[in-house]
């Protein structure tokens, strides 16, 4: 058979593409369930990390169910639109990245209510934004006063290692602890600034990562964009 003929070439590439395509489709279909479980467990892990709970890798699902007492959806006026338990997948699966692109008044705003082992209640708010190369996201846990940061967690899809990727470093995240989102009753989101600078309006700030300016700015913009709509809800929490 002539291996250089056009017919052979065309048939060869068709067969190859069909075989590889089938293999990919099979891999994707048969593994989907496990992948979704893993992705959910990973999200739970990230949420728990924002409240500084030490993670037990094998029992993330149980730890999540133990600590998260409720999941809420609120609107920009501070009303609770939907309420569910730790197993409410509808609220859990709200796509924060898609919501963050919507107009603030149209968003569904998830709140994860967490009770720590010592009984303290924390409100965890999800965020999503963009860094230099791709998506960044995170969770901020606020004390029951709705203002003081108890913990923060950030992660990223593809920021530069050593520079922008440092937002995933616990050292950077720890800087947020204790910062205030409200000053004299006004909502002033924590900003990220170049080290040595101060925000002009007197809001609380953390130092950005040197060499990771665009990612740092992305974190600041993400906090502002994603948490500002919670203003009314946070005000309604007892101070």
């Amino acid at each position: 058979m002539n291996k250089q003929s056009n017919t052979y070439t065309v048939i060869y590439i068709i067969v190859l593409v069909v075989v590889v395509g089938a293999a990919l489709a099979f891999a994707s279909m048969s593994l989907r369930e496990r992948q979704i479980d893993n992705a959910n467990a990973d999200k739970m892990k990230q949420i728990l990390k924002s409240v500084r709970i030490p993670i037990d890798d094998k029992n993330v699902g149980r730890q999540f169910a133990e600590h998260i007492t409720a999941m809420l959806v609120v609107d920009t006026e501070g009303n609770v639109v939907k309420e569910g338990g730790a197993d409410d997948m509808e609220i859990f699966n709200i796509d924060v990245a898609a919501q963050a692109r919507e107009e603030a008044s149209k968003r569904e705003l998830p709140v994860y209510v967490c009770r720590l082992d010592n009984g303290a209640v924390k409100y965890i708010l999800p965020m999503s934004g963009s860094g230099l190369w791709g998506a960044i996201w995170g969770y901020v846990a606020l004390d029951s006063d709705g203002s003081t940061v108890y913990g923060a967690y950030f992660s990223h899809a593809s920021e530069t290692p050593g520079l922008g990727a440092e937002i995933a470093n616990p050292k950077f995240q720890e800087e947020f602890i204790g910062k205030q989102f409200f000053k004299d009753g006004r909502f002033m989101p924590v900003t990220v600034v170049k080290s040595g600078q101060h925000p002009a309006d007197g809001s609380d700030y953390v130092d950005g990562i040197s060499g990771g300016t665009i990612t740092s700015k992305g974190v600041g913009a993400m906090i502002d964009n994603c948490l500002r709509p919670y203003d009314a809800y946070l005000q309604s929490l007892d101070k």
Binding site: K3, Q4, Y8, T9, Y12, I13, L16, V17, V20, A23, L24, A27, S28, L31, R34, Q35, N38, A39, A41, D42, A157, S158, T160, P161, G162, L163, S210, G211
Partner: protein, 207 residues
């Protein structure tokens, strides 16, 4: 016997004499992208070893059937398919590793070492030597990546594998991390230095 000796050179040559990075000058772009820290460099090295070995074997098995006119396309389809399947498996069974690798998936597919070895070796050799060639070249690539990442992380961040090694007293005495080390150009300069040292030791590969 001759076969055995040949397999041995196929496996060990890429470590130094025929190193993919410093002698064949392949895979420079990823050497630049992932070496700011030691950990991603090691992860990248491991994944290239695996993908290179298996794509070499598959292409070697197919080598007599591939029409010459579309061989590059066939190689590309095999490599891309393999990388995506590996990623799917990792997502299902080793999620943390998959998350770490996510940045590199694209880099593995476009790594010129892969195409280079498929073209130069797997298309003309039997599966077992091709497998050894893949593993050997993957290790050769990893060695260089680790050396570069070692210097970049040590001098750029004062850490190794994320743990601080430069003592605080150094910083107190005025020592500063070299920010340039984290930026891509330093990777090329270090690779250049490695090539320099390597060529002065191995006089026979000097041009």
């Amino acid at each position: 016997m001759a076969e055995k000796i040949k397999n041995k050179t196929v496996f060990f040559n890429p470590f130094s004499k025929d190193n993919p990075v410093v002698v064949q000058i392949l895979g420079i772009c990823s050497a630049l992208a992932v070496t700011a820290k030691l950990e991603p460099a090691i992860v990248m090295g491991m994944s290239v070893i695996a993908v290179l070995a298996f794509s070499n074997v598959i292409i070697s098995l197919l080598r007599n059937t591939i029409p010459t006119g579309i061989r590059i396309i066939v190689q590309l389809v095999v490599v891309a398919g393999l990388v995506i399947i590996v990623n799917q498996l990792l997502l299902a069974f080793a999620y943390d590793v998959a998350m770490q690798l996510s940045v590199f998936i694209g880099l593995i597919i476009t790594n010129c070492i892969l195409m280079g070895r498929l073209e130069a070796f797997a298309m003309a050799n039997r599966p077992w030597p091709s497998f050894l060639d893949g593993v050997g070249n993957g290790i050769g690539y990893t060695i260089i990546l680790v050396i570069v990442a070692f210097f970049r992380e040590l001098l750029g961040s004062g850490t190794l594998l994320g743990m601080q090694v430069v003592p605080d007293s150094f910083y107190a005495a005025g020592y500063e991390n070299n920010g340039l080390m984290i930026l891509p150009p330093m990777a090329l300069i270090i690779v250049g230095c490695i090539i320099w040292v390597h060529r002065s030791i191995n006089k026979d590969i000097q041009e």
